[in-house]
Symmetry: C2
Subunit: 241 residues, 2 copies
C-alpha cells in the first residue's frame, strides 16, 4: 500500500509559538483519498536535520509531504535540506525568477530571488491555475507553512494522490477492553489485512470501549465484524456504525 | 542545552480517528519549564518502528517522552518497542501485579497482567501519590495516550524536568520580511545563541511580519533586539513585546 509521511518543518511549531494545523489537515485529506499516513515528523529549520529526515522518509514511503520553511528569510532552508537529501544542487528556475521580478519590481532583494532557487530535478505543479506553483522533488511534495496557503496549494494538487478508499466499521462495547483482548488478538490473526483498533473510553458515555476494524476491502472488513460479534456476548454490544 | 523529543505512538492518530492533543500540551509544558523540544515523531503501534524511533531519539536527545500504546490490548506494544530499543527483556513488576490483582479480582486475564510487564531497568515514578505510576526507562518517560491521563501523570512528574527559562521578545513590523532578510542574517550571525524567527502575517492586522528573538540569556536577547532595531527604519516598527 502506497503510504505517506508528513514532515513539518519549523522552529515556531517546536517552540509552541504556532500550533501545527497542517498535519491534522493533511491526515484527514490523505485518509479521505485512501492514502495511509505512516509517519509524521516535526523538525527544526536546520539543513542537516531536514536532509536526513526527508532523505529517510523519501526512501521509506511512497509519498512525502513537507510543510514550511520555503519563504525568503534565513530560517527558510527546506529547499537546501531537500537538495542535500538527494545530493543535487539548487538551481534558479527562470519562470519563477521572472514572476518574482514582475511582482516585486525595484524593491527586489537577494532574499526575494532565493525563492526561485529549487533543487535540481524539481517539477513545478501549476494545477488549477495556481499563481505560484507547488513544487515536487522526486516523491516529495513541498508545501508552505501557512495553513491558508497549504489549503490552497494542496486543494489544487490533491487529486494526484487519490487511491482506493478505506472502509471503517466501529463497534461500541459496554465492557473493559482487557476482557476481550484475547478475542481481538484472534481477529487480528485471522484477518491480517484488517487494522484492528481498541480504544478505552474514560468519559461517562454509553460504552467503555470502541473497537475499530478497517481495511481497503469491504468484504474482509464485514467478515471481521461478523467474526468479532460471534465471539462477544450480545448484551455488551451497544451499537455498530 | 538539554533538549527533548516527543514520540507519539498510535494508529488512531495517523488514521485521523483521534487528534493528537498530547504533543501540543507537552510542547507548552516543556517550553514553560525551559526545555527545548527538538523533534516530534508520530508513529504506528508497531514494535520495530517504536524500537527504532525511541532508540534513535534516546541516543540523540537528553529527554524522550512517549505517549500512547501502554494499555492492555494487542495494539499496546510501546513497552515491547522500548525494550527492543535498549535490547533488554520485559520483566513483571511485582508491585504492579499486586495492584492489578487487587483491582480486577476474579475477572483477571493475561491482558490485564500484561500491564505489569515493563522493560528491565525501568523506574516507577509514584510522584504526587499517583495511584498508577509513570514509568521511566533510562532517559525515556513513558506516558499513556489518553490526554486526561497524560495531564495527570505529567502534572505529577513535571518538576523533574525544570531547567533555566527562555526569554522571548517579539517585534512586529509593517514591512515585508524579504526586505529585511539581510538584516536578520546579520543579527543571526552576530548573536549565535539567539534563535531568530521571521514570520509573515497574511491576516489583515497592523503588521506584515513578526520577528522573534529568543535565548536563555536575557542580556543577549536584549542586545539582539537593540542591534536589530538600530538597523531598521523606526517607522516600520509597529510594536515590541
Amino acid at each position: 500500500m502506497d503510504a505517506a509521511a508528513i514532515v513539518v518543518i519549523g522552529n515556531e511549531i517546536l517552540s509552541g509559538k504556532v500550533q501545527d494545523k497542517n498535519s491534522p489537515f493533511l491526515i484527514g485529506e490523505l485518509r479521505e483519498l485512501g492514502v495511509p499516513v505512516k509517519r509524521i515528523v516535526t523538525i527544526p529549520d536546520e539543513i542537516d536535520v531536514i536532509a536526513e529526515t526527508v532523505g529517510e522518509c523519501a526512501a521509506t514511503f511512497a509519498h512525502v509531504i513537507t510543510c514550511g520553511g520555503i519563504g525568503p528569510t534565513l530560517d527558510d532552508v527546506t529547499f537546501e535540506g531537500i537538495a542535500r537529501a538527494f545530493d543535487v544542487p539548487l538551481v534558479t528556475d527562470p519562470t519563477l525568477e521572472r514572476i518574482i521580478r514582475e511582482q516585486v519590481g525595484d524593491r527586489i532583494t537577494d532574499a526575494h530571488l532565493r525563492m526561485a532557487q529549487l533543487p535540481e530535478g524539481n517539477e513545478l505543479l501549476w494545477d488549477g491555475g495556481l499563481p505560484w506553483p507547488a513544487t515536487r522533488v522526486r516523491n516529495v511534495l513541498v508545501l508552505p507553512g501557512s495553513p491558508e496557503l497549504v489549503e490552497k496549494k494542496w486543494g489544487a494538487v490533491r487529486e494526484r494522490f487519490r487511491a482506493a478508499p478505506f472502509v471503517l466499521r466501529r463497534i461500541y462495547l459496554a465492557i473493559d477492553e482487557a476482557a476481550i483482548a484475547a478475542d481481538l488478538q484472534e481477529i487480528d490473526t485471522a484477518f491480517p489485512s484488517v487494522d484492528v483498533g481498541s480504544y478505552p473510553v474514560f468519559a461517562p458515555v454509553d460504552h467503555e470501549t470502541q473497537i475499530t476494524l478497517e481495511s481497503k476491502d469491504v468484504g474482509v472488513v464485514e467478515a471481521s465484524v461478523e467474526a468479532l460479534l460471534s465471539r462477544l456476548d450480545p448484551s455488551v454490544v451497544v451499537r455498530i456504525d
